[in-house]
Subunit: 339 residues, 2 copies
Amino acid sequence: MKKIYLKDIAKHLNVSKTAVSLVLNNKGDENKISLATQKRIKEYAKKHNYEPNQLARSLSTGKSKNIGLIIPDISDTFYAKIASRVENMSEKLGYTVLFSSSNENPNKETKLIQSLLNRQVEGLIIASTQQNQKDIQILKTKNMPFVLIDRYYPNYDTNYVIVDNYGGVNDAVKHLWDLGRRKIGFISLKPGLEAMRQRLMGYRDAMKDFGVDTDDVIKELSYNNYENEIKNAIEELVRHPNNVDSIMFSTHYLAALGLRELRSLNIKVPDDVAIISFDEMGAFDLVDPPITSVLQPVSDIGGFAVKILMQEIEGKSVEIEKRMVLDTELIVRRSCGAS
Amino acid sequence: MKKIYLKDIAKHLNVSKTAVSLVLNNKGDENKISLATQKRIKEYAKKHNYEPNQLARSLSTGKSKNIGLIIPDISDTFYAKIASRVENMSEKLGYTVLFSSSNENPNKETKLIQSLLNRQVEGLIIASTQQNQKDIQILKTKNMPFVLIDRYYPNYDTNYVIVDNYGGVNDAVKHLWDLGRRKIGFISLKPGLEAMRQRLMGYRDAMKDFGVDTDDVIKELSYNNYENEIKNAIEELVRHPNNVDSIMFSTHYLAALGLRELRSLNIKVPDDVAIISFDEMGAFDLVDPPITSVLQPVSDIGGFAVKILMQEIEGKSVEIEKRMVLDTELIVRRSCGAS
DNA sequence: TTGAAAGCGATACCAT
DNA sequence: ATGGTATCGCTTTCAA
């Protein structure tokens, strides 16, 4: 059973390639091709398992039916879940998703964008390293539809779907305060990412509202060495003169690492130090103690991103909001000392 | 700055498209194109940001530089990690990965395979639903390079990279036995997947070695309703007449669900019931108690799969083993009652 | 209704 | 060394 092409069908049936193409794309009726011919063509195609070459079709139509998704790391559950949603939705709409991971490397991001463009994607969804405004601007000048997710460029006008990082942390910190915690530390990653900056501000502003000075209890770790740096950070926070009674972690893997560290220091959570994590990992509810987390609406991020992108690509009439800031949800568990 | 094509360069420089194509593909020297011309072409191309249309190139060369990856679910950490490895390796080799999730649905798998073939992928890596031997056979008759991962068809001759499911469970169960557990239950998913069958056999054979009857302590849940069924399964195992003192879970999410259930029944782990999980989730070491797990060499699965696939695609001379059964590793933590 | 032919953007063969 | 031209497989315009 060897491969069969459009022209083969045409030849064997003594019709033109045009007819075959039209019929197989269900444009037979509108082009008034006789039902008899249509039937012959369809049957022959089915019988011989004809499958069109999408590359050729794309080249011809100028539509690849591909969209690109660039994320920092597909093995991070947060991005994996977004990717899952993006893929499922796109697939239903007839689009294939080309994933790629930037590993937080701006140069790689640049290359990936270029590579995806070369592959004629019709649009992009990007969780940018945020050190690449240049590339993003290029996309815009090229009129390439795209939407940023998770991270955006605050000074540059684009579509985006992000979460309320500021509010999420702000609420969480206030929650700790309401539970009687007064010396609240904050462990995060060094700036560079707007999301991290927002989370820091959410923390700072909350503390400012309470009139507490935070200079010494904010620890920002570097991106490529946080595994090692967190040990010191935790130690400095919990011992004199800081003696924090609680720590807000700006992201789930920091919270996990931090908890391991607290344990090895024999510090009781939440009795000695309460903790809250921004975002969570699969088993955070099973951890000892279960970790209070600020949940992000992961699926929605992917879902809205696809919706916005499709609107840009296909120019649907119904306009939807193209800048979305989604709410987070505080899931209270024992690690913050509640209940 | 509008888009520029090969022919534009040729025209502006008064050379042929051939020359431009050759030079830009670094075949200038071997085709003895004068250095002067080469330089002109390269400079012009760079200056005007020429980027070749991969679709056109692929159509012309017959090589898409795409490979397809089909997995059940990208949001499952296990597959996400494999995908991550596959992507990183492929990217270095100049290939783009087209991911797609079958959601354990054989029909969707069929469609995905077809869709990827239409997009002219040069090879496939598939974690099959295992209800699709037909499609796999078709791939073979089409001479399409592919390698199965995680799941394979035991009665059908293909390349694959899997783990030693049998041995992994067998060892884990023996470990429980060595710790003094005698009534060991097993919770898994209904057959269909060879991996699950192997895990079951690993358990059965271990128990047979000990001369223990297991008929009543094996619970196989259905794929689409295990969240609900696990409650009963656990209850039946722990209460009279079974009274198991330990449970082996055939996969990480069952272990997580199971632990939640055990807790809500106020059963102490590991004192009353020890547990071991096949595979793990991100925070299993932080759980109360930390969960003993059979680790799979996730990255290697992806890595070897790409290696094998590339060998098939590019026909490298160095032959490597094309059926690999990788070893698992038992990570002993407190949930099994050790230490 | 149907078919011929141009075109999508590249590669590669075959002359010159 | 360089260029003309066929080709990849399909869509689509235009004439018949």
